[in-house]
Structures are given as C-alpha cells and as structure tokens.
Amino acid sequence: MANLIATPPFGDTLPVTVGATTITERPIERAASVAPFAGRAKAVSAALKQAIGLGLTGPGEWAAKGEASVIWFGRDTWLVIGAEVPESLQADAAVTDQSDAWACLRIDGPQAEAALARLVPLDLRAAAFGTGRTARSLIGHMSASITRAGGQGYDLMVMRSMARTLAHEVAEALQSVAARGA
C-alpha cells in the first residue's frame, strides 16, 4: 500500500502566539464516538472501564488516563480519544471511527478566557467551567466541543472541514483582546 503523507487539518495557520497566550494544534491520532443503544449505557461504561480504564462520564464531564480520554459529546454520545475501543462494544453501542473527522486546537494562557468570551455563548470562567468540564456549544456559528484542559487552557474541537475557520476566528479574537492591552 502507498505510504500516504498525513496533512494537518489546520495547515500553516497554527501555531499562533500572542503575548503569553498560545494557540496550538492538538493532533487526534485515533478517535471514535460511542453511542450506547437504549438502556445499555451501564454495560458499555463497565466494558469500556475494563478495556481502557475509563468509564462513560456524566453530561458535561470528561476524564483522562494516560493517553486515553473519554469526552461527553452530546446526548447519549461520548468521544473516546487515544485508545482503541474494543470490538465487543459494538454489541451494545454504535461505535463510529472519528479519526481525522474532528480537528482539535488548544488555546492556553492568560488571555484564553477573554478571547473565548468573544466567541462562545457560555460562561467559561474557572468557577463555572473548571477541571473536568466539557460542553457542546457554538464557536461563532460552528457547532463545537469545548473542554477545560486544565489551568488556563481549553481544547476546542470542530469538524475538520471547519478547522481553518476555527483557527482564524480564535486567532482574530485573541489578537483583538491583546490589542486592547488588557
């Protein structure tokens, strides 16, 4: 088979550094969505916990262990990143490969919160959106997954087709915030 060259979803639009705040790509090498069939969520959670050490999280929560993370991704849906979902899970859940389907960037630094306040209709301050929190919401007009990455950082995920728009929007918001000399 031909050895294909992987191209990053954000192209040359990232990284961006403004003052002490950075926007960098977070490559997703492997991801799958897990949507348990009706009434099978508990069984799926137990099986997943046995396989990768992480069960399904509550709405608006995510968890990580080593390379693997499980992110709540909407109603009865979770995204498993960085770990192989066991094939046996397919008896209890719709498991769909999402590798390369979503693009992820991290914005981290003292002005990350202020930049996102211009784009996201949510309270993303630490008191309301602290460690272990995640949300599905909008970034501008794009449907997105927003996750508190720890400290001042956020991981933002959109469908890959919108990766460059995301990078552009976030970089512009960050530059505008910085230009005000906050």
Partner: protein, 87 residues
C-alpha cells in the same frame, strides 16, 4: 430568551432550533380518518398564553425538547426531553 436544557443547563436561544408545535408528537393512528389527519398536518392554534413547542438543541447536545412557555409573558414554565413525552 434562554432555555434550560436538561443535559446542558441554561443556554442561549441561538443554540436552539424551533421545531414547531409539540402536537407533532401526537400523531393520529393511520386509520384515524381525514379529519384527524387534516387537523394534525395543517391546523395549529395561535394562543395568547400558554403554548407547547418543540425545540432542537442543535448547537449543543442534540436533544429534542418540549418547551412549555407563555407567549404573553415570555415565561418558560417547563422544558422536557421529547423522548420522555413521546413514548
């Protein structure tokens, strides 16, 4: 207007998509007759007061919601997942 999604909490109206009157969940039987089906497909009340709508949380978790609200006061009385209403 803000709606409280049972999964996501209180969210801005821009995250939601209007899905019409919640009577869409009360589908008549296939043999209910022309009058019942005409009513279901075409006829809608336009109340000044309490109403029930369907809203879709498309900018969020993807849940269909039944929202009970008042068209005069804009008060939201209740938000229920449509999956719990339409069994």
């Amino acid at each position: 207007m803000r709606l409280t999604c049972p999964l996501c909490g209180e969210r801005d109206r821009r995250e939601f998509y209007y899905g019409g009157d919640a009577m869409a969940l009360e589908r008549p039987a296939p043999d209910a007759g022309d009058v019942a089906w005409n009513d279901y497909v075409h006829l809608r009340d336009n109340p000044a007061g309490a109403t029930r709508d369907l809203w879709y949380h498309d900018g969020g978790c993807g849940t269909w919601l039944v929202v009970e609200r008042d068209t005069l006061t804009h008060a939201i009385a209740k938000v229920t997942p449509a999956s719990e209403v339409a069994r």
